[in-house]
Symmetry: C3
Subunit: 261 residues, 3 copies
């Protein structure tokens, strides 16, 4: 599927994207989900999350401010999603920054069948064991994000995306290199989280695939290019929502900068 | 009271509006409360919430991301508000979406004397038993929102408002139909929550009545009309705060589109 | 150090500012930290917070929506920060509004060695015992914020800042009076919290001192002056981030309005 087809499918299906996520960027995740064509819902009490995950189009698990209560809810909702055939997107925010985050990521990856893992280059390096590190929740270093994505995709039988100035998406055999995006994304908190939400929309509507994940990242990155025009990060963030909503299908296909590694 | 009188009263009283609410839209609730003329405070630890509810002008209970801890706090703060004669506004976000939300709404409505219930048409349909449903936290269907509002107002001896493209507000005998508002409200997360905050301001300053709730909804909806001028949802949301603050009393009376059903 | 030197140091060091804060304004805290030149991280699960606090440049403890779980995390992370020599900034949001907030503030001040206390005039009046009060989380009255700052600085061996239309910063002997800032700051939720985040950046990069805290408050206030030009509070807040990022070192020195009391 081309990005244009994915975009049109998302807008047609209007996928219900259930998030168990952090309280730092949750509002931005909700709004970008709407602008991407989905319907956001956030619920993190165990019973609530299980019921909603089972009927959602996609479940997004984001570890940004995970605690013991919400980790328990993530595991339970992940299982409910798996049982119902609902794809799970996992964003291992800040893995490598603490023992608790490391063990939380391990628990999720060992107990939930994830369809997509999306992290920054540092996080994917940590998870893959290929080498990488974070500083707080920011990528600090990563030896080879493309290799990390490929290793993780193969290990977990999923799609894996390592985001950064260039994004690398792999299904375990192919690795795609994506070159869209604006530098402004690095000056706004939560753009990684928002990327995961858009991936949740595309995965929810089109299923998890190299195409759908690449299309989601491309859509978000092209919206960021359209939003950036010399403005500051406050103005940029506001425009990002406007541009996400007004993306045209054609502009995705013509604007996508993608190649096979 | 006409909307203009309510607005002036809110700005004079500067009501302290205590929220126990969700972490998705809480910042927007705080800012719209300020722009509407109130002073927001959010506290959800049981003891904290009880002390503050007892001295607030109004308590807003919003179920958007309720969990067992915050449900307990809502019940305790609701009781403290009742004991102190502080009106309680209840927003049953997502009722119908899970068993936990259903039982939470039941607990609140059976243990707290609510002055106002405000939900979207689907939520009010679920609560009233008139028929209705939600998809996540969005209204999915509702057979007759005006009837739901009337039934709920009568059942709980309160003012009930079912919001949507048209809003229906009832005191159990009369039903008012409100026709202000912009389509953009559906493209921004939390506009329902913000409506409840504004209702909290007006109820806190003017008491719970058909007039004060209709005026609050009218004020928010006219601000939304003023904010929408072909812009996207990011820009619209920013302007919504500007327009809420700069509303004139006269524009409310002249702009209000209201009728008795 | 002049404000210009502090600003350049912050941008050079890019301090990692760990927040345990409230969910109302957390996103704004993250974004203002980025725009001020720092790297924000929020983590409030006890083990997570301890690990991250120990490697952060600064730890900001904000009591805005504190609960028993996060109070426990604040105490543990505060101890970890103290052990590692990481300065702690404390924002006693809403102290005086409830017994729980009072006892939380007492616990933090008795168990954590704080480098900076920053509150609004009412909060600082409550903490100092000089007289003061809050209404919700807003300053309601304060007899003498300069005296409160001086008393608190002396009592805790720290820098203390009482913010308001004028800001007073003391090291226990000198009191500086700062006169920058825009009235718009009072119309946006979380500007006090954002001030604490900026203080966290400057303290993290330059160490806790009268100069660094005055420079941080000056930087935020001059950004607010640049952002305000007759616009409403929604537009103002967006611009505040833009202006914080684009501050020049020279404009801080030339724009600073400061005097010794």
């Amino acid at each position: 599927m081309r990005p244009s087809e994915c975009l049109l499918k998302v807008r047609e299906v209007h996928p219900l994207v259930h998030h168990i996520t952090n309280y730092v960027t949750v509002n931005d995740c909700a709004n970008i989900t709407i602008c991407a064509g989905g319907a956001p819902v956030m619920a993190d009490e165990r019973g609530d999350a299980e019921d909603i995950a089972a009927v959602a189009s996609c479940l997004v698990l984001n570890m940004g401010t995970v605690n013991r209560r919400t980790l328990d809810s993530m595991l339970a909702a992940g299982k409910a999603a798996n049982d119902a055939g609902v794809p799970v997107v996992f964003d291992p925010v800040g893995v490598g920054a603490s023992r608790f985050r490391n063990s939380s990521a391990d628990a999720i990856l060992s107990k939930v069948d994830v369809a997509v893992i999306k992290g920054n280059a540092g996080e994917m390096g940590v998870l893959s064991g290929m080498g990488g590190g974070v500083r707080g929740v920011d990528s600090a270093c990563a030896t080879d994000p493309a290799a990390s994505a490929k290793v993780l995709a193969k290990r977990y039988g999923c799609i894996a995306a390592a985001t950064g100035p260039k994004d690398y998406v792999s299904d375990g055999s192919t690795v795609m290199e994506l070159s869209n995006g604006s530098d402004m994304l690095g000056l706004v908190s939560g753009t990684g989280c928002m990327t995961a939400s858009v991936v949740g929309c595309y995965t929810g509507a089109c299923g998890p695939s190299l195409d759908s994940v690449c299309s989601a990242i491309t859509a978000f990155c092209i919206a960021s290019e359209n939003a950036a025009d010399g403005c500051g990060p406050g103005t940029f963030k506001m425009r990002l929502f406007d541009e996400m909503l007004s993306l045209t299908a054609e502009s995705l296909d013509s604007g996508q900068r993608i190649g096979t590694l």
